[in-house]
Subunit: 202 residues, 2 copies
DNA sequence: CTAGGTGATGACAGCGGCTGACGTCGCGCG
DNA sequence: CGCGCGACGTCAGCCGCTGTCATCACCTAG
């Protein structure tokens, strides 16, 4: 009876992921996605600024999750402690139930350079937001930007492991390990010592 | 006498940068760029895979420069020493004479999100190449990826400073400072100490 | 000197992403 | 009851980008 049903963007996103996964990203036109849920191409572009965005919409939530970890941290926290806090907070967006969905989504992204570009861009936006907040807390340059970029790097590496085949550890758990590895890496003494090259065995 | 003149891609690149800077990126069509140097749109796309690429062509040289620093490094080098070596090597591509050209180019990129996406993508490709080489040297995951990403992060921050207004330090000089800052940042003791938050005054 | 190959380019047609303008319809509100 | 609003459809059109084929200078073999 209703002229149009609710949850339009959600249905478009689901349909797009399905079509991309089965027919390929470039082989799927925006009009096809729209028609598969009973809409027109014009409506698709009213919900998403461009075709790629249908896979990335909602990542502002991720920025908020990272920032939430920062505002909750104590004033005396060091930059690296803030990074850790942001990562812990963001990990809540990646519960085990979403792992399979993330795997499917990522498999689509990995098969198309244009989608990889958009993904990297989103990470940059995230890093920029983190950097702004860190500067707002009195952290000076270039420390603020370095810390922000390190956070997204650790997140990226952790996410890759999280959706890896057979991986069962939780996102937080992986993030802590990777962050420790980063600390270990940069803190390594440049002086010559036996077996210094392989930083860790695992 | 010749049917076509040499250096076609170079002339297209120069014309594109000029037009982008004066009229804006989106307002400039590929056909306009081509016609401004006496060619057709079709020829433009034979030289560059897409419109954005006219601003980024040649960045494979940067990958080579980074990698050259790695192959020249001694076998016992730690990951961070390798990062430092790669950065020093890459700095040779950014002599003071190119600073103004880089500034103009960057001002165009900063005004268009699509160009920023492409730039980030190129940095990712660079990081991936660095990661591969580091793994080839026996560095394990996630250390290899973390080191590679850190290298591009330090490079990015350094480049931003290098083209900053009034900046006169050389690229190598800036890179060394930023890299030291990254070491200092991640190595900072998590334990509470007076005035620990602002890592550095400058 | 001629025939044929090569490589960069032009000309043309066409698809798909994306946009602006405008009209339609159901809904809630005064 | 009339009105505006908001989501959507329709249409026309630009531009990025591609496949296909023809063209023309140059070069090489015979």
């Amino acid at each position: 009876m209703v002229r149009w049903q609710p949850g339009t963007s959600g249905r478009l996103q689901a349909a797009a992921l399905e079509l991309f996964a089965s027919n390929g990203y470039e082989q799927t036109t925006a009009a096809e996605i729209a028609q598969s849920v009973g809409l027109t191409e014009r409506t698709f572009f009213r919900h998403f600024s461009d075709k790629r965005e249908v896979l990335f919409h909602g990542q502002e939530l991720m920025v908020d999750a990272f920032l939430a970890g920062l505002v909750a941290a104590p004033d005396e926290a060091t930059p690296m402690e803030l990074v850790a806090a942001a990562l812990e907070s963001a990990a809540e967006l990646f519960p085990d139930e979403r792992r399979d969905h993330s795997r499917l989504r990522q498999s689509v992204i990995e098969q198309n350079p244009a989608l990889q570009e958009r993904e990297r861009h989103k990470m940059s936006v995230l890093a920029a937001a983190l950097g702004d907040t860190l500067r707002g807390r009195g952290i000076t340059e270039p420390a603020a930007t370095l810390a922000a970029e390190s956070a997204t790097t650790v997140f990226g590496v952790s996410f890759t492991q999280w959706i890896g085949a057979g991986e069962e550890r939780s996102m937080v758990e992986i993030e802590r390990t990777v962050l420790a590895e980063l600390r270990n890496l940069t803190a390594a003494r440049p002086a010559a010592s036996p077996a210094a090259r392989p930083a860790a065995k695992a």
